[in-house]
Amino acid sequence: MNVQKEQPARMTEEGVLRAAGDDLAKKTAESTDFAAKIRSVDLDAWFGKTQALKRINLGIRPNKVTAIIGPSGCGKSTFIRCLNRMHELVPGARSSGRVLLDDEDVYAPGTDPVLIRRRIGMVFQKPNPFPTMSIYDNVAAGLKLTGMRRGKNLDDVVRNALQQASLWDEVKDDLRKPGTSISGGQQQRLCIARAIAMQPEVILMDEPCSALDPIATAKVEELMVSLKATYTVVVVTHNMQQAARVADFTAFFYLGKLIETGPTASLFELPKEELTERYLTGRFG
């Protein structure tokens, strides 16, 4: 038997990236052949002179969970913060290109970013309930800002949001306790309830489980999957197994570029791009 020594294919990341970059026009065509809930078109983003996103064309399917994966600094958080115009809140940050929410450009002149952020809610890496507010008031805070008064309607909305966030049964007798008095995992679900209370269309989650233990993580993951029945969910995660568990579609970013996107199962079993393959198999660097 003639057994050859295995020679893993080697190509520098720069070389592979150049090859991937040459193919961006093709990717644009691949990413636009379906009705998206939200879609970035030629989206660039900068922090000062540093370009963080390079011509991202990515459609997010409605009522699905889409995971954004990639190494630190690849632009995945920047990307979702561009979707609801939070990127522009950072001093020196800017973006160009378009983000279409149901074909409506969220960057069109005259568009109120506050209204956009109401339609596209966000949950952050670290649970951040308002520290001086009760559990109830944390959920109701956004609604009160819109002028909704305390009363049965508000009670119903709070209960409904907590139920959707799978937290109601755990806190229904403690609604007046501080939002920070519950566990980290519960606080994160409280933040999800706070986002849900605003009745958004899209929920963006930026590493929502990175500060949670495995049990709390499992609850948030179950929640992500159940939420897609009502909302479109986009989750940024470093945890590829989490993406594999929850996401219907996955997009891989590297150095500010969208390298590959597709159904999670096929992207994780048979990635088309060598860079994706190397990232998924831990062969970077």
């Binding site: 038997m1 590829m240 079993e269 994706t276 998924l280 198999t281």
Partner: protein
């Protein structure tokens, strides 16, 4: 930099290479026993060893999945490894079955060995190719195995058809040869599956169907 998982992946590959070599030797020895009319007991011992190795491959594969949650080519390799391991184990099992035929039917010296030996030569070649295709992740060799499968299939079917038309049949020869041709045909099928698994590892393509 080597990955932690590579230690396990190397062990998996080495186990499969050992199985490949042993299964090739086991089938060749079974056919030598048929040719010489001898009962070569090592075939049964090696067949049992192949079963143990197959169990080890399964355990290691599950351990690698549990520990490292592999993706992409790693995941395909582990998935295919379990199928390839099963194929190598089946080579050994059919070799054991051929030995049982020799034990059951006794002296077959008077039988015409021509068809069985021609089929065995082709099958052994397919086994060799399947081991090499896996060892070298060689898609061309893997595809070649598929193209050879018809020869062994046809040898078995043609023999049956010929038997059915025969008026005078030596039952000892007819039954033993039918069984051995059937086992060779199954071994050839497993060689084809192993070829398909090699293609899956390299290209991610699943075969259209399994027989």
């Amino acid at each position: 930099m080597a990955r932690l998982m590579d230690l396990g992946m190397d062990r998996l590959r080495n186990l499969l290479l050992e199985m490949g070599r042993l299964s090739e030797q086991t089938v060749a020895t079974a056919m030598e026993a048929y040719h010489l009319g001898k009962n070569l007991q090592e075939v049964n011992r090696w067949s049992s060893k192949l079963k143990q190795l197959d169990d080890q491959v399964s355990e290691l594969s599950i351990e690698l999945i549990a520990r490292f949650q592999p993706l992409a080519s790693d995941l395909r390799y582990i998935k295919a490894s379990m199928e390839i391991s099963y194929g190598f184990y089946r080579y050994g099992r059919y070799a054991h079955d051929i030995m049982e035929v020799l034990e059951t039917f006794g002296d077959l010296a008077k039988c015409d060995h021509t068809v069985v030996e021609a089929s065995a030569e082709k099958t052994k070649e397919m086994i060799k190719l399947s081991v090499e295709a896996f060892a070298n992740k060689d898609v061309d060799l893997a595809k070649k195995i598929t193209s050879m499968d018809d020869f062994v299939d046809n040898a078995y079917r043609d023999y049956i058809r010929k038997l059915m038309k025969s008026r005078k049949v030596d039952l000892r020869c007819a039954l033993s040869e039918t069984l051995i041709l059937r086992y060779l045909e199954r071994i050839a099928d497993h060689a084809t599956y192993i070829g398909n698994s090699v293609i899956f590892i390299v290209k991610g393509e699943e075969p259209a169907y399994h027989d």
